[in-house]
């Protein structure tokens, strides 16, 4: 009746998972609780699964409710971003950056622009630096809202209410960004030596309004889940990332800070005007799901602090170096450079190799999510399915950056 639907051959990842099961059974590690020789099943989570946030695919080996093994399969969103750079001028490549980690595109733009500026020896104007910090911190808040919202939605239907509160409040940020840049997510706003537009009239007041009203909303989120016994039970002590893991796998960002490592590039390798600003690096000490959630919530408050200071300190002056328009064509001298920038998810670095022409000879990202993903097999194995979902939600992956 339906014979036109044939069961497809298992692909490489599934075969690998099956082979691993066979090997572990051969070693006598199979779970023989009920005298069964083989009771592990291989399940595909994704690329279309409600809790993988994008097109991540996890080939999961399950023993009942227990996750035995995880093989992440990536590449479903591969768009040859690094190769595209080799056929575009430095300037033409800026909008592509918004599409790498689309949740906080402006931070990715910044990482690239920083690298090119370092290579070409351009210094942005002081006003532009402050505007950059404001926009980046606004988008950090928006990104953390998405991260925490989807993470709570993974946990429960309560999260479906929570995620709407968070997306509602993210609208405020996006409205501010839209007024400033003309776009809600794909900004194309940073330029070499400055930013594209100056702040529109009344924007500073609107931003101050946001800074004033947002802490109440953060308290609302905390009131919803922080004191909820079930939420605590689901998150505390689950998916612990040790400091050794952080070092071994190159974990950065909130995930590293939740494990007690005060690694924040805004402080440890400062760029732009961050050295002049007063903010704390949020560190928690248990490294579990709950701490990663807490770090994000606390970082939103720190971001607000930064924005407020920047609005106070905002100098007058041009927002771009030199003439009114930013240089469309730049030819950095031959050489290479790597600049890391603190993305909401960790260190987003750009490596550029220049041969002196108008195009980068080679461009390479260091994406935080890509490194964080490497921890998945270790982190998820041995947990229950429900925990695995909570843990993967707390790591906060964006597939646009992983697959490029």
């Amino acid at each position: 009746m339906y014979d036109h639907f044939e069961t497809p051959e298992p692909d490489e990842a599934v075969k690998l998972a099956l082979r691993r099961i066979e090997e572990s059974t051969a070693r006598g590690e199979g779970s023989d609780v009920a005298g069964l020789e083989f009771n592990e099943v291989v399940v595909n989570m994704g690329p279309q699964h409600p809790s993988t946030h994008g097109v991540l695919r996890l080939v999961v080996t399950l023993d009942g409710e227990l996750v035995k093994d995880v093989i992440p399969v990536i590449g479903y969103l591969h768009r040859c971003k690094e190769k595209i750079a080799e056929r575009r001028t430095y300037f033409q490549y800026i909008p592509i950056l918004d599409r790498t980690e689309y949740v906080a595109g402006i931070n990715c733009e910044w990482a690239y622009v920083l690298a090119v500026e370092k290579l070409a020896g351009i210094r942005p104007t002081r006003r532009a630096e402050f505007i950059r910090v404001i926009t980046a911190e606004l988008m950090r808040i928006a990104s953390h809202l998405v991260a925490v919202g989807t993470f709570t939605a993974d946990l429960s239907p309560l999260g479906t209410a929570m995620v709407f509160y968070m997306f509602r409040d993210r609208e405020d940020v996006l409205d501010l960004m839209e007024e400033l840049t003309g776009a809600r997510m794909m900004f194309n706003y940073f330029r070499f030596g400055g930013v594209r537009y100056d702040l529109p009239d009344g924007w500073v007041e609107k931003c101050r309004d946001f800074v004033r009203t947002f802490p109440a909303k953060i308290r609302e989120y905390e009131a919803l889940v922080d004191d909820n016994a079930i939420f605590l039970q689901r998150t505390q002590g689950k998916g612990v990332i040790t400091q050794q893991d952080v070092v071994d796998y190159g974990i950065t960002g909130p995930n590293a800070r939740a494990s007690g490592i005060p690694l924040d590039l805004r402080r440890t390798r400062p760029y732009s005007v961050y050295p002049e600003l007063d903010f704390d690096v949020c560190v928690e000490h248990h490294g579990d799901v709950f701490d990663r959630y807490r770090v994000r919530i606390r970082e939103m408050r720190e971001s607000l602090k930064i924005i407020e200071q920047c609005l106070d300190m905002l100098p007058r002056g041009p927002v771009q170096v030199g003439s009114l328009r930013a240089p469309y064509v730049i030819t950095p001298p031959p050489g290479s450079c790597y600049v890391g920038q603190e993305n909401p998810r960790g260190e987003f670095g750009t490596y550029i190799e220049s041969d002196g022409s108008r195009y980068p000879y080679r461009l390479k990202y260091r994406d935080p999510c890509f490194c964080n993903l490497q921890l998945f097999p270790k982190l998820l194995s041995g947990n229950k399915i429900a925990d695995a979902v909570a843990i993967s939600g707390s790591i906060d992956l964006v597939l646009g950056g992983i697959d490029r």
Binding site: M1, Y2, D3, F5, E6, T7, V41, V43, H49, P50, S51, L62, E65, T152, A153, D154, L155, S156, P157, L158, G159, T160, A161, V163, F164, Y165, R168, V225, D227, N228, A229, I230, F231, L232, Q233, R234, Q236, G237, V240, I241, T242, Q243, S259, G260, I261, V283, H285, H286, G287, D288, K384, I385, A386, D387, V389
Partner: protein, 373 residues
């Protein structure tokens, strides 16, 4: 001869009523829950189809009927087809012992309460059948979770029903309602028992925070992953009709059924229509509670769920049963005894459970190793 014919007619009538209640309740509840959820989530919800979107679930129902009836090649054809049909049995058959109102009761079965428990397990059976027959791992895990959960939570539910039967002294549901005349609702005498029944019924309905069998972030759609079109629609209808049916059962057992002010003021062929009104109104208060709970409490995990049933609800339920039995047997004015005991245990449970749990969590947190040593 005419008696037999009338009997058949009566049976047909009540089965039709039962099905109509199931379908109407499902359509109403789907809309109701979506709007309530939107209200809780600070959104609008469906408000385009008809005035205030009331026709949204009707539109969805027609959409579902129009969909392709798809069956995976590897599925077991018999069980796969049978499961969506079986799933309705529970919701329909339960109504045959429920007194909708004065004079509208299909059968005054003398083991009504036992019948309730027995017949409500059909849903588990259907879910297990569907999950197994789909030949899909998500479905299977979902179905097994459902079976484990329902078996566990049937025990506290049964214990709660046992207390109702002890108080009333009968297993007939019309006797249960008659006992609660003059607002002597059993829910007032035994609030803790009601709480237990309510928690167990949420679990029986597979709803949040006990919606593990179909937790969409873990198991895609649980046991109904492979179902589409009207087959899925049957599972869906049953799930949402279950809200009303379970609330009706709760109202009958604990909140005086159709009893209320002005009973008998409006009646048609000996059927008290005011009673129907009170019955539906009380049920929908409980339905709203169910919706509210779903969107206010995070989902439990499989082991926590089992732990809650076996370590907390069942021991407390047994103790509650024993204490109630002792009060009824030995205390002269046992109704007053029940009243005091019921409210004391209710407030003790509500007041102590959360702080105790949190204290334990805090201690665990203090003991939890710090990675940044």
């Amino acid at each position: 001869m005419i008696d037999i014919l009338l009997g058949i007619l009566r049976a047909v009538l009540f089965v039709v009523i039962a099905y109509v209640v199931v379908f109407v309740a499902a359509l109403v509840n789907i809309y109701f829950e979506r709007r309530a959820m939107a209200f809780i989530g600070d959104r609008l919800g469906p408000n385009r189809t008809g005035p205030q979107g009331v026709l949204q679930s009707v539109a969805d129902a027609f959409k579902m009927m129009g969909k392709e009836d798809f069956r995976p090649l590897a599925a077991d054809p018999v069980l796969f087809t049978l499961a969506p049909v079986t799933v309705m049995i529970g919701a329909v058959a339960i109504q045959l012992v429920l007194p909708y109102t004065d004079g509208l009761l299909a059968t005054d079965l003398n083991v009504g309460i036992i019948f309730l428990v027995a017949i409500s397990s059909f849903t588990t059976l259907a879910i297990l059948m569907g999950g197994w027959a789909s030949r899909n791992k998500y479905s299977l895990v979902g179905a097994l979770r459902a079976a484990a959960q329902m078996i566990s939570y049937e025990i506290p539910m049964l214990l709660a029903l046992l207390i109702v039967a002890m108080i009333v002294g009968s297993l007939r549901l019309d006797h249960v309602v008659a006992f609660q005349a003059h607002y002597e609702w059993i829910g007032f005498y035994a609030p803790f028992t009601f709480l237990m029944f309510y928690i167990a019924s949420i679990a029986e309905l597979n709803r949040g925070p006990f919606d593990l069998p179909e937790s969409e972030t873990e198991l895609v759609a649980g046991y109904s992953t492979e179902y589409s079109g009207m087959r899925f629609g049957m599972f869906f209808l049953n799930e949402y009709a279950g809200l009303t049916i379970m609330s009706m059962v709760a109202v009958t057992l604990f909140f005086g059924g159709w009893m209320g002010p002005w009973n008998g003021a409006v009646s048609l062929w000996g059927v008290d229509l005011v009673g129907v009104f009170w019955f539906v109104l009380k049920s929908y208060v409980l339905v709203f509670l169910l919706v509210w709970v779903r969107f206010s409490i995070p989902r439990l995990q499989a082991d926590q769920l089992m732990g809650f049933a076996w370590k907390i609800l069942i021991p407390l339920g047994l103790a509650n049963t024993l204490a109630t039995a002792a009060i009824i047997l030995w205390v002269p004015s046992w109704k007053w005894g029940l009243l005091v005991f019921g409210w004391v245990s209710f407030f003790a449970f509500v007041g102590l459970f959360d702080p105790l749990l949190k204290r334990r969590l805090r201690r665990e947190r203090e003991r939890q190793p710090v990675v940044s040593a």
